[in-house]
């Protein structure tokens, strides 16, 4: 018998909806919000307002692209958190009233668990246990995955996320938000010839706030001597910063693999689009004999396919929530 899940995601600035049928993504739609570019970051009230205007068209589009009618949907999965409270509330409220109207069960999904689940969208399916490095604008963590829904973080960032490190560097360099993609492109024309210190963080945790400060001091020092320093060296600066961020990530991931002995290794989240991270990840895989998994790009940045996928596995377990469920701005996956 066929199972159809509608997934709804509204944790940050993108409103997204997707249909997953029997574990296969049938549609994956997203409405982004250009407004935040102007302000160099997400404005929570503006994001919440945009979600309310986007949610019906996006869900409708997901249904149409999948060729599925609402009455065929077996359950509604939604992002409960973590994320911006005002944003989450729109998706959660809409999901609940859809579920009530259609008399279907509701499935809560943790956004971070869903990032990992984006690795289950396409074959080959990973074997468990697996390690996943989740790197996005809001999160950076290494997760041990023992089953589709069974996972626990082994380490995470103590301050900024890796995507934030890209975005904050971009702000210092006058690159528009979100800066990660452009830094990536500029870096391809540059040399990583400026050295930034590696943070000393014990275990499998990360820290990026010291890097941000050292970049700021580096830029202040050089622009004092040469006001055109940034303009003249932009590709090299980008390559250097990117190199540092990626080596911080890879060193901890290799450490996690060595400690656990796990050789099924995946990446997920918006920053896994980064070409340098992908290159170093593939290289480490070859060097260390890992089987590596990288989700399709559209499942890396915020999307609802991953929510519907995680929802599908929860559906198989009968893991539903009652209607008194409310969003959780902070919600660790265990």
């Amino acid at each position: 018998m066929s199972v159809i899940i509608l997934g709804i995601e509204s944790s940050c600035d993108d409103t997204a909806a997707a249909i997953v049928q029997d574990g296969k993504v049938r549609s994956n739609c997203i409405a982004g919000q250009e407004v935040h570019r102007l302000y160099g970051g997400v404005v929570p009230e503006a994001a919440s307002r945009a979600h309310l205007s986007h949610i019906v068209p996006v869900v409708q589009q997901a249904m149409e692209q999948a060729g599925v009618a609402l009455h065929q949907v077996d359950a509604i999965a939604f992002t409960r958190g973590p994320g911006l409270m005002g944003s989450l509330l729109v998706g959660v409220s809409f999901a609940k009233s859809l579920a009530l109207s259609l008399q279907r069960p509701l499935i809560e999904v943790n956004h971070l668990l869903a990032h990992v689940a984006s690795n289950f969208a396409d074959p080959p399916m990973p074997n468990f246990p697996m390690l996943c490095l989740t790197v996005s604008g809001g999160h950076t963590q290494i997760v041990q995955v023992d089953d589709y829904l069974d996972m626990r973080p082994l380490g995470q960032t103590l301050d900024d996320a890796a995507g934030e490190a890209f975005d904050k560097t971009g702000k210092l360099l006058g690159i528009e938000y979100p800066s990660g993609p452009l830094i990536d492109r500029l870096a391809q024309q540059g040399q990583a010839r400026f050295a930034f210190p590696e943070p000393q963080v014990p275990g499998l945790d990360f820290s990026f706030s010291g890097l941000k400060t050292s970049i700021l001091h580096f830029l202040q020092k050089h622009t004092a001597a040469n006001p055109d320093f940034v303009k003249q060296n932009l590709p090299d600066i980008c390559a250097s910063v990117q190199h540092r961020i990626v080596t911080i990530l890879m060193r901890k991931l290799e450490m996690a693999a060595a400690q656990t002995g796990i050789r099924e290794v995946a990446i997920a989240g918006g920053v896994s689009a980064n070409s340098e991270l992908r290159r170093q990840f593939q290289q480490a895989g070859q060097r260390l004999g890992w089987k590596v998994y990288i989700p399709r790009l559209e499942y890396c940045t915020d999307n609802a396919a991953m929510i519907a996928l995680a929802g599908y596995f929860k559906y198989l377990r009968g893991d539903f929530v009652a209607h008194d469920v409310t969003p959780m701005a902070r919600w660790s996956m265990v």
Partner: protein, 229 residues
């Protein structure tokens, strides 16, 4: 013609008030004490009022929301909930002016006043308000206003004030001529305007409807810390 069956969602303030009515007749009502989390209860209340009314959601003729002004977040919870039902069951959406609904309720309780001033609490000494004359014609547009003792200068009295912002306003009007009518937002008060909108077929666009925010989002633009390239 049979009167319409309406689901009424009033979430402009800290009261979550959900009702169902056939024409003017209220068939079910659930109201939260203040301080309850709207998001936790709204669909449970909808289920409960439909059961009180003895109807299924599919039998509704329209969904009615309180349009605001009010708390942005709770207005959005009401609007997102309404959109889900409208979208799932192909029902029209009606939006009702929150302050006018309060003014109508206020006049029913204090019929002899010369003016009616509903107030919804905003931050600090600010309220969302509008002024209506004795026939409930609008004298002031809906606006965010900082409360001042002289705000009713030139307004015929007695003036009745009501709503979640009225209690903090009352001390300003010690000189008399201003009555405080104790009144909270309620789904019940949406019925009259909702029926008008229904008969005018004044339906909202389900996709693009937004509540009355009155103000743009509060945005501070950060300054770059070094001169950009």
């Amino acid at each position: 013609m049979r009167e319409p069956l309406l689901l009424l969602l009033e979430t402009a303030t800290e009261v979550c008030s959900i009702g169902v009515a056939r024409g003017r007749e209220l068939l079910g009502l659930q109201e939260s004490p203040p301080g309850q989390d709207h998001a936790a209860i709204i669909t449970l209340y909808i289920e409960a009022v439909m059961e009180q009314a003895g109807h299924a959601l599919a039998e509704l003729d329209a969904i009615v929301v309180s349009d605001g002004p009010g708390s942005y977040t709770s207005l959005r919870i009401g609007a997102a909930t309404a959109k889900g039902i409208c979208f799932a069951l192909q029902k029209p959406l009606l939006a009702v002016d929150t302050l006018q609904s309060l003014a109508e309720a206020c006049k029913a309780l204090a019929p002899g006043c010369r003016a009616y001033c509903p107030m919804i609490d905003a931050r600090r000494m600010e309220v969302y308000t509008a002024l209506f004359d004795e026939a409930l014609r609008r004298l002031w547009d809906t606006q965010a206003m900082v409360l001042r003792a002289e705000m009713f200068q030139g307004v015929p009295n007695p003036v009745a004030i009501c709503g979640s912002g009225a209690a903090k306003a009352l001390p300003l009007f010690a000189q008399g001529g201003v009555h405080h009518i104790s009144l909270k937002c309620s789904a019940t008060y949406l019925i009259a305007q909702a029926l008008n909108a229904w008969h005018r077929q004044d339906f909202q666009d389900i996709a693009y409807y937004v509540p009355m925010y009155l103000k743009p989002p509060n945005i501070t633009i950060p300054k770059p810390r070094i001169s950009p390239a």
